[in-house]
Every structure is written in structure tokens, then in C-alpha cells.
Symmetry: C2
DNA sequence: GTGAAAGCGCTAACAT
DNA sequence: ATGTTAGCGCTTTCAC
């Protein structure tokens, strides 16, 4: 009688074969639904496997099949940010269709950490690597790309190598935000932006400035605030903006975190400035917040699709998919200048 | 001159050893920082590895070391639900401290899919399996538990086997929500609940009913609505409740989705009923929504900690950690009955 | 329809 | 301090 607390070693295919009275290879064939197995033999093997509680060792299989796994890696920012979690969800759903699994890791917006996570994933022999990069320079990935590991960049274009990418129409989205506020009659429009070193932020600033220039408006210039990186900082920045004389009559926040900060700053205010935020968010409808929306889940899904095509052998030049944006009107962006 | 589009096969340790002019094992020792390697030899091996672009094959290592990976699996609901993404974030952060990676999969709240995902993870030889189970019966996991794969249940207790678990104080949290509304003078209090088959929901209903009973109040009874499973349905349910005569003067929603639905239903209403929601959420402060809060990231972190302890060899009876709750007062729960 | 032998890339055990 | 041998559990030849 075996002791209860002893960890039992997993049965191997060899043991299944022995119990079934067949050779190793026949057992393998039977369990993998390969042809050329007699029905009765197959039955016997499966019974033996069930009896032993056999489970295929994926690691051994992968080693034998060429040391490449069924894993796809995602390196991104913190999943508590709804943007990243929506992207991850879209990726996972798509991969699952193809029998692939998603490994996630948070780069904590640290370039060094990001590199070591990428290394860890490559050691695991991921089939593809999806990155929402924090680092600016991606050249170190170039060697890997040639070794058959496809890369897909999400939200930020690759710098220093040619790779597939799925981006958001940042310039267009920000331009339409600017146009929307201009159309409501605003001139003194503030922009609250995140770190300028991130490409999407630069695109959003460019789009906004483009709209202003095209309308011959330069009253926004004193109200440009960039490198605002968290909710608290955004709240403070918006408070400061509203204390100016003259104060801006409208605010454009360039991502969901900054929009949250602006909403906190404006909470309970008697006459609030107009507000348009980049990125849609939960409860924006209840709050009546006008946003530049885009399909974040689709961003993930498309990235996973590109990766899967590469895994399936597609070769060809790097492709870029651009996710479109649209202004969703909910009231905050339509308030007239006071 | 090699063709550009040919996928180059990854160099192996043998090739590194050859180039460095040492034996396989010495190369292995050098790259793994093992003792007993001359400084100059180590240097030569590392140079050779760099030159070839060598990267350890984790699959081969894992097979050799006992067919067990550095992966921990999480099976949960959709990551677009902030509850699951906060949990996943907490897990990933904790695992990373110990060199473990997180694989995630969405069970789509489908028991069959959940089982097949668990199978897939076990084939990958995950070191531990974290589950926010959709299925009610977890007995099929019992065999695996004895094979040395630790399980940790999150948010829902294991049924049919003994396993570690991290739960929320559902009964206590819901009781305090009930007490809070009673203290504000409410008697006709509605409860909008999710699927009763899920244990946390039963706990929340029990806690709420307990508070009502203790106060000798039975005016809530006509306003109990359960098995409300999505935002739209919650919105409709709250609308219907408010159309009753007499209408409830307060509403308790038992999770974040249902709270969202209630907020949508109450949007723009002249005199809104009091509202307390289970689960805190982003922008609840801006919306002034009183909630029963708990630390979701901590839930994930604690689960990962338990898993890591088991992986490190801890044996002993199954443990249960309970995450405490607290009422965060923001206005909606303090509105008096009209 | 079935089986025997080889080997994926690495590390553990045992020399030297 | 370094090298040799064996083998993790599976799939892939190739033979019968």
C-alpha cells in the first residue's frame, strides 16, 4: 500500500505501451489518432492510458518536433490598464482558435526588464512574440527575427528592424478630436499628453496640432502640457490649467489614464470645460464623456492573426495594419465655450 | 553567401562548445555560472555563444530536468473584466519574482472548455495551476493534485477536492452593504445578483439577507432579482425595479458588471435610489458610487504566493486565505429614502 | 498494421 | 578544472 503523501511520478508512454502489450510506437500512433492502427489495438492502448492516468508530455514532444512550443508571448504594460487587458483578451481569443497559448509578462515600462522578458520567452521557444514595446530601440530583436521567430509590434512601430505591426490611427483620431472641439466653437484648447518619447503620443500631438493649424487657430499654444504620465499628475495638471487666466475652454486628453485624471479634476466643478479623451472606457456613457474610440480587442486579434500567418509559413515583407478611430459623442465634447 | 530568406537553425550548445574548443559539459557549466570553470575558459565559451547568437533551449533543459516547466497556468474569465485582469496582474507580478511565467486562458465561462484548457496546461507541464473556476465540480482535478501539480482556487472554493484557495469575504462584505443601507434608513432594498450557481454570489446573497433578518426587515423580499448575468440585463432589471409601486429606495448590486448596468439605468434619473455595489471600479470616485471594495490584485498575489510555496516543496493541509472587504463611502450609498 | 533504433538539446553522474 | 556517458519522453525514420 503506497503512502498517501508521496508524489507519484507521471506514467510515460512506455508504461502505457507495456500495459497494453504493444510497442512504444504503436501506443504513440494510437493516442495521436494516426492511421494504421487496428481498432482493437487502439482501444486497448486508450484503456491502458486512462487506467494509468497518462498525459502526454508536451515538453518531450516539442523537443523532438524541433524545440518549438505552442506558446506565443506577449510583453506589454500592466494588465490593470484596460487598454492592455483588452488587447491581451483579443490576442488570447484568436490564438486559442489555432491551439496556441498565450504567455504574458508586464514590462513595467522598463526597457531593461523588457529585454530580459523577451529573452525568457525566446528561451521557452515561443512561436511568436507580440510586443507593446516600452523601449525605443528594437534593433536587438533583429537577429531573432531572422532565426524564424516572428515579431509583431502593437500600438508602437518597430524601430531598427522590419516587422509586422498593428497600430492605431493616432494622427487621424487626434485630428478629429481637434476638429470636433473647433466645431463646437473652442479656440483656447488644452492638450494634456503622456510621455512624448512614446510614438503614439507624438502622433496624437501632431494630429491635434495639425487640426489647429488647418483652422488657423493658435490659441491652444499656451495650454500644451506633455509628459504627464499618471492619473494624479493629470489631475493636478488639469487643475492648474483651469486656474489660468484666461483658462482653456476645452481639454483634449491623449489617453485613458489622462482622461481619468481630467475627470477627477473637473469633478463637481460649476462650469466644466469641454472634454474629449483619446481611448474609450467603461462608463464613459454614464459620465457623458466624448471620446476618440478604437477597437482595442481588434488590435489584439489582428496582431495574433498576423503572428499566426507567419507561424504558418507566410513570408513576405513586413505588414502594418492600422486600426481606425471614431469620435463618440456623449456630451462632454459638445459643451460650448463659456 | 547564405540566402537571406532562409530560416537559420538555432545554434546548439554542442556548436558553442566546438567553437570554443571545449567539451559540451564545460560549455554548459560556463553558461550556467556553475563553479569549477576557469575564468579564461568561461570567457571563451561566452564569446563563442555571443558570436553564434546562442540561446539556451529551455525545452531541452526542462525535459532533462524532469519534464516540468517554469510556467504557471491561470484559467479564468475574460480579461476585459477588470476583476480578472487585476487578479492576473497580481499573479504575474508575484510569479516574476520567482522566475516563473504566467500562461493565461479564458474559460469563456464554459465548463467543457475549462476542462480542455486545464488539460492543455497539464500537457505543457505547468508547475502550478490557478483557477477561477466556471465549472462547479472540480473532482476531475483530484488525480492531478496527487501527481504533484499544485492547484489554487481563486474567488471560488474547490468542490470535490482539497486544495488551496484565496477567497473574498463575500458574506461579510454583503452584510456590511446591507447594514450600510439600513443605517441610512432604507427598508425596501433591492438586490440584483448574478448567477446563483456561483458560490460567491450565494455568499453575497446570504450576507445581505442576514443583515436584513438581523434588523427585522423583510421589506426587501419583493425586490430580490438573481441570475442577472450581463450589463444589459442588469440595466433592464433595475429599470423594471424602479417602475414598481412602491419602488425600492435602495439597490445593492453584487458585482461590477451589475453595478455598471444599474448606473446606466439610473443615468439622468431625477431622484435616484441609493446604490451600493460589490467590487470597486475605476471612476467610482468620479461617479460618487459607494462600494464594497477588496484588493483584487492582492487576491492574485496571495494565490501566486501559495502556489509558489507548494512548488518549493511545502506540503501540508490545504489552506484558505480570505481577502477582507470594506465599504467605501462616496455618496450613492448614503442617499436617504425619498 | 506493427516494431526497433536513433536522436531532439540539454544536464546529472561519474570519471579523469 | 574538464571530459565522457547516459538518458529525460517523445516522434521520426526505416524495416518487417
Amino acid at each position: 500500500m503506497p503512502a498517501d503523501d508521496v508524489t507519484v511520478r507521471r506514467p510515460t508512454l512506455t508504461q502505457v505501451a507495456e500495459l497494453a502489450g504493444v510497442s512504444l510506437k504503436t501506443a504513440s500512433r494510437a493516442l495521436n489518432q494516426e492511421p494504421n492502427v487496428a481498432a482493437s489495438t487502439g482501444r486497448r492502448v486508450r484503456d491502458a492510458a486512462d487506467l494509468l492516468g497518462y498525459r502526454l508530455n508536451g515538453i518531450a514532444r516539442e523537443l523532438r518536433r524541433g524545440a518549438t512550443s505552442a506558446l506565443v508571448g506577449l510583453v506589454s504594460g500592466d494588465l490593470t490598464n484596460p487598454f492592455y487587458s483588452a488587447v491581451a483578451s483579443g490576442i488570447e481569443r484568436e490564438l486559442r482558435q489555432h491551439g496556441l497559448l498565450l504567455i504574458t509578462a508586464n514590462n513595467d515600462e522598463d526597457a531593461m526588464l523588457e529585454r530580459s522578458l523577451v529573452d525568457a520567452f525566446l528561451e521557452r521557444r515561443v512561436r511568436a512574440l507580440l510586443v507593446v514595446p516600452s523601449a525605443d530601440d528594437h534593433e536587438y530583436l533583429a537577429i531573432e527575427g531572422n532565426r524564424g521567430v516572428p515579431f509583431v509590434f502593437l500600438d508602437r512601430p518597430p524601430d531598427g528592424l522590419a516587422a509586422d505591426a498593428v497600430l492605431i490611427d493616432n494622427v487621424g483620431g487626434a485630428r478629429s478630436a481637434g476638429d470636433h472641439l473647433l466645431a463646437a466653437g473652442h479656440r483656447r484648447i488644452a492638450l494634456v499628453g503622456d510621455l512624448v518619447r512614446m510614438a503614439p503620443q507624438r502622433g496624437r500631438i501632431d494630429g491635434f496640432v495639425g487640426a489647429m493649424r488647418a483652422a488657423g487657430n493658435d490659441a491652444w499654444e499656451p495650454y500644451l502640457r506633455t509628459d504627464v504620465h499618471d492619473v494624479r499628475h493629470a489631475e493636478r495638471t488639469v487643475r492648474d490649467l483651469l486656474a489660468l487666466d484666461p483658462a482653456p475652454t476645452a481639454i483634449f486628453t491623449t489617453n485613458n489614464r489622462l482622461t481619468t485624471g481630467a475627470l477627477r479634476a473637473m469633478r463637481g466643478l460649476a462650469d466644466r470645460p469641454a472634454l474629449v479623451g483619446f481611448d474609450d472606457f467603461d462608463l464613459a456613457d454614464v459620465l457623458g464623456t466624448t471620446v476618440v474610440a478604437h477597437d482595442m480587442t481588434a488590435l489584439g486579434r489582428e496582431a495574433a492573426r498576423l503572428a499566426h500567418e507567419r507561424i504558418s509559413g507566410h513570408s513576405g515583407p513586413a505588414r502594418t495594419i492600422v486600426i481606425s478611430t471614431s469620435v463618440i459623442t456623449r456630451g462632454s465634447g459638445e459643451r460650448p465655450p463659456r
